[in-house]
Symmetry: C2
DNA sequence: CGCGCGTTTGAAATTGTTCAAGACCTGTGG
DNA sequence: CCACAGGTCTTGAACAATTTCAAACGCGCG
């Protein structure tokens, strides 16, 4: 396998304060791999034997219920660590990670977790910070689900994705990975039918523009209003 | 202030592998305090200047929405650490903690967090494990909210509280702290009216027995069935 | 160019909320 | 010791939001 280039990691928070040779050592232990859209990176309940860094693409993290339904918990953007179950003393992955778009992922065997944490303070700090941010995000979803009506939840969810992983286009902010009505339904605890109706309605009002597996937010401000109104 | 007795901590996971003098040192830094039912221990958004251990009683952890509604995220039982925002590199508390029943709490100033983590491996491990368990619990709530109907959510929630902090009585398992219909509604994202109707119905069927601020599960098995049925 | 997945849309059915009113406890103060 | 006040719980009825069921459409990949 060709050597990975050091510039891959130099800008990223977990490695920001490290010297060249340290980054070199870290990279030499890493395996790089490409995942096609829809391919699983790891699955809920399985042995947590690796941890990961997303270099490019997007990853969808979901949990399944006993009855087979799935709930999408969050999305991972490039530059983020994931599959860091060990940070929480877990032996197994608590959720399933699937490539939402074609993705490039670095991975390390979990036995390096301890050494990394001990040797690289910025790696430890960033890991725990990441966990904290995700916990916050999940709590935010939970409170939304508990207090907001469906339209507000969908608006808030679309908005969050546009903010976290949107890219600007001439029409507005476009969610940067393929996403179906059903995906959005799985994030908001509703049905694809309801999501379809909502998006259609918003499109008529010029708030969003959407095509197959694709959503562009053209009027973020009005979407914010929608996500907050409790009438 | 009277010296705290070392036996308070000896049985608890965070301190289980420590020697007598270490526990003595930890206790000498701690402040013990009693909180009446309903009193806040810390509030969301405030400076995270202390971390806590619940010795006796129960603590309700909740978040508020911009519009003033509150969502109860989880309950803390005796022996557990809480307010450990620093484990996640946070500067402020991400939620509000209120005594659900009269409670006895130990607290330490947050400046001791680093030293504790560095000096006592079992404390570090237990802290992160606690975070992991809570994350799991919140994720479970989230998937429940997203996939289950109200009756199933309420059944699952009552069951969870009975399991985590119930005590056996001759009638069945009793939730060990005062809890109103409205509290349960705030946990499940519904209204106190609906909760009241459900509990009344279950009581007629002999599944639970409830009085003011008080719930006893008399037939856990049927409640499990209810919490899972998707008919 | 055709097929399949993703999407749209109506209508009926249903679940849960909202509104409204009253009953019931329990601790407090006279 | 009793009455009262405030918080808690119950229940009916109307209503609204969302799901379910059903059918059809159409874009885009292979």
């Amino acid at each position: 396998m060709a050597k990975l280039d050091e510039s891959l990691l130099t800008g990223l928070p977990p490695f920001s304060q490290l010297e060249r040779p340290q980054i070199r050592a870290i990279l030499d232990e890493a395996i790089s791999r490409r995942y096609d859209e829809g391919k699983a990176i790891f699955r809920e309940g399985f042995d947590a034997d690796h941890f990961f860094l997303l270099l490019d693409g997007f990853v969808r993290v979901s949990r399944a219920t006993e009855t087979g339904e799935q709930v999408i918990v969050l999305h991972i953007s490039p530059g983020q660590l994931f599959g860091i179950a060990r940070a929480l003393q877990r032996e197994t992955y608590p959720a399933t990670a699937i490539a939402a778009a074609e993705s490039i992922v670095l991975s390390w065997p979990m036995r390096l977790w301890g050494p990394f944490i001990d040797s690289y303070p910025s790696f430890a700090a960033e890991s725990y910070k990441t966990v904290g941010l995700r916990l916050g995000e999940i709590q935010a979803s939970l409170t939304e689900m508990a207090t907001k009506a469906v339209e507000q939840r969908v608006a808030a969810t679309v908005l969050r994705m546009a903010n976290q992983s949107g890219r600007k286009t001439e029409d507005g902010i476009e969610i940067a990975f393929p996403i179906t009505r059903e995906n959005i339904a799985d994030m908001t605890g509703t049905t694809l039918h309801t999501v379809s109706r909502l998006l259609s309605g918003w499109q008529k009002q010029g708030i969003v523009k959407s095509t197959r597996k694709h959503v562009v937010v053209t009027d973020p401000h009005r979407l914010v209003v929608l996500s907050q109104s409790n009438s």
